[in-house]
Symmetry: C2
Subunit: 273 residues, 2 copies
């Protein structure tokens, strides 16, 4: 087991994201992760050094430190800790400054992340509200404003995927659950007919869906093998017949489902984290 | 204007996150971003090179390429494009291999991101379901299972924040809107009384709240300066009296609100992106 520290002057999301991406390259090793966000003064940096040195001593292995600190003094302080110091800004800012022929700000980037004047912030909040209002076929049903409408049987990750698209990219994603009536009729519900070009299907392996539904309603018809297989088979033929593109979510993370759908539908990512 | 390309063998989220973090250091410059995800073969890499070279020619400026490709051949191919090639894995994998005394997998990390066997995947889906079921004081109200309960008046980003905590970190976050009845009584609603230690308040500047509410219901009492000021003032004294910690969301991104609350409440981040 090795401890990994994400040290940042902001939220730590960048350090966490890059860290996990690199750690995933060392399969079989166990890592414990600690996020140390909002480290903006030399005094706070000294506190971080103290914590890291204590961990190094207790575990008799020096932590791996993913650092996204822009202030040079704060950064220099954390660098003194007993750990492998991986310095994100040091690695890339230099080449970028040369390329752009411009000195970088070396400030913690709040300006771009300030909420009230940031159009992407409003875009994301609006997109979340849209996803919630157009979740599960109920509510406002403003499919005209939707950029994508996810369809699939119950428990195929429609809601988390649409919320992720909204929060991460400001995409207006509605979702519509294919209910038994829809499947029996073998046709799209009439509310969706004008928007077939916006549809994207989600499917899943029957065994996995049965497992998920059983956790939710053990022993129910809803969770039965027969019902699950019927629904998935019928949804599948609906997708095929209407030429609705679809993705199997069984072994796919929410990020990947979202990213593949955006890619496939040619949707532009509006917002950014 | 300079074009920035995020080239990845997976979703591109890591490349986007690190890229935006670095670009925010060059204020005043305009960037256009293009995500090129799921580049996993040399053939696809050649397609990417073609796209980048075309952009370089058309814009007479070579793009900045943030690359998170692990396959060496794919990476070497993209490196030939006419752009500033910033190679994420090349920068950090070497030092990590030395430190851990282990060769990295150099595979695109699907194993760790595969959904059905990944406990963090289930944790996140469960957390999203929890946030939805315990949103806005309605529904299941399973405050016993909540790790944090966000409280605040209407339109203080409670819902996006709780959803972000769920999706990003697998945190069980409920939220409760302080309605006029609650504010008039000057006391916590009785359903929350057993859980005061889990409460975290959200507040916002009156001008900003008035603006948000006006966009929603122009000219309404709900959006009036008087009402907004009354609600915020009363919520504020409730927070102070009950010693509920709170954060002003006015100039704060959702990431930062979430991160500050987790930090403040000492909550451990369960999941990862």
């Amino acid at each position: 087991m090795r401890t990994v520290c994400f040290v940042s002057d902001r939220t730590g999301v960048t350090a966490e994201t890059m860290g996990h991406s690199l750690l995933s390259q060392f399969e079989g090793l166990q890592f414990r992760t600690v996020t140390m966000p909002f480290v903006s003064s030399v005094e706070q940096a000294r506190g971080v050094v103290g914590r890291i040195n204590t961990i190094a001593k207790e575990e008799q292995a020096r932590p791996i430190i993913f650092c996204t600190l822009v202030d040079e003094q704060v950064r220099a302080t954390v660098k003194q800790a007993n750990g492998l110091f991986l310095d994100f800004f040091a690695a890339f800012l230099g080449p970028m400054e040369t390329e752009l022929d411009l000195k970088s700000a070396h400030t913690s980037g709040r300006a771009l992340h300030g909420a009230s004047n940031d159009p992407t912030y409003t875009a994301r909040i609006n997109a979340v509200n849209f996803a919630l209002a157009n979740d599960d076929g109920a509510g406002a049903r403003d499919y005209r404003s939707a950029e994508v409408i996810l369809i699939g049987v119950s428990r195929t990750s429609k809601t988390p995927t649409s919320l992720y698209m909204a929060l991460q990219y400001g995409i207006f994603a509605a979702n519509y659950p294919l209910a038994e009536e829809d499947l029996e009729s073998g046709a799209l519900p009439s509310v969706l007919l004008p928007y077939t070009a916006k549809l994207h299907g989600l499917t899943i392996k029957p065994e996995r869906l049965q497992q998920i539904r059983t956790e939710r309603r053990p022993g129910s018809r809803y969770a039965s093998s027969q019902q699950v297989q019927y629904e998935l088979r019928t949804a599948h033929s609906l997708f095929e017949r209407l030429r609705v593109p679809y993705i199997d979510v069984t072994d796919t993370s929410i990020e990947e489902i979202a990213s593949r759908i955006l890619d496939h539908m040619g949707l532009v990512r509006h917002a950014r984290m």
